[in-house]
Amino acid sequence: MKLDAVDREIIQQTQAGLPLVSKPYHAIAEKIGITAQEVIRRMTCMQEHGIIRRIAAIPNHYRLGYRFNGMTVWDVDDQYIDELGAKVGQLTFVSHCYHRPRHLPEWPYNLFAMVHSKTEQEIKIQIDVLSEMLGSYSRGHDVLYSTRILKKTGLRIKNYVSA
């Protein structure tokens, strides 16, 4: 799907959030100077094509009490990684799941899954669930916890209208 100038204007108007008014798509339409039907049609199309992953509320993990956030990394056979990654992604406590390249010999891990929990005990259980799911397909794993957030500005795309 090729984005045009109007799509980019919709992105620009909504990337910080959806208007909190009864008819939000009308509000966006009014700002851009097109009809609400056009906004609805274009956003539906962008969602169908994966430009919009989904429209949703993103909670602050820490505010909901999720203090234990770990990056679990696994060394699994490339041949089975897609099958395993798809299964891992289905777990409700996994927020991101990716196949990434190894950097041998120091970094043998190719499957990354971010997990979130409220207690240390719970995160250990989550890692056990993952371990069991991956079973003998996993030749080794590690869990990296963030000890400090040094920067977090988010992925705001700037100047997209002129791009």
Binding site: I51, G89, N110, L150, K151
Partner: protein, 147 residues
């Protein structure tokens, strides 16, 4: 945060409709008036319980590029190295993690060529190797953080 707030958070993590009156539709599902839903959402955003509410756009699908990269910063130079990396506007997140690879950062640019340039500049300025780990594949997730 009461039970109604929790119900709203849990419901809206799953998705939100694109239609004429989407809040009304959601409020009927939750069994509360639309005005109350809007007011509670505003409060949850204002107090920071929700970091955001709206469409999540796919950077690559919009023509941008993203990668995850890591570096082994020697302990004595840690703060200095972190600062060099943070100075790049293309670096969106930077976390310290408990591993030899102790700095993990996300680089977001408007083109994939630019990713390589940023990595090269970071390597020149830090005199350290950047381990580039762009995703080969992303797996669909069903995250639901129970409020």
């Amino acid at each position: 945060m009461d039970d109604t707030d929790k119900a709203i958070i849990n419901y809206l993590q799953k998705g939100f409709p694109i239609c004429e009156s989407p809040y009304q539709l959601v409020s009927e599902q939750l069994g509360i008036p639309e005005a109350e839903l809007l007011q509670r959402l505003q409060k949850l955003l204002d107090e920071g319980t929700l970091s955001r509410f709206g469409p999540m756009y796919h950077a690559e699908a919009m023509g941008g590029a993203l990668t995850l990269a890591a570096i082994k910063a020697p302990e004595q130079q840690f703060d200095e190295i972190a600062e060099i990396i943070n100075r790049f506007p293309e670096v969106a997140h930077n976390y310290q993690r408990n591993h030899d690879l102790n700095l993990w950062f996300v680089i977001a640019t408007e083109s994939s060529d630019r990713i390589q340039e940023v990595i090269q500049s970071i390597e020149e300025q830090t005199r350290l190797q950047v381990y580039n780990m762009p995703k080969c594949k992303e797996y669909f997730v069903q995250l639901q953080l129970e409020a």
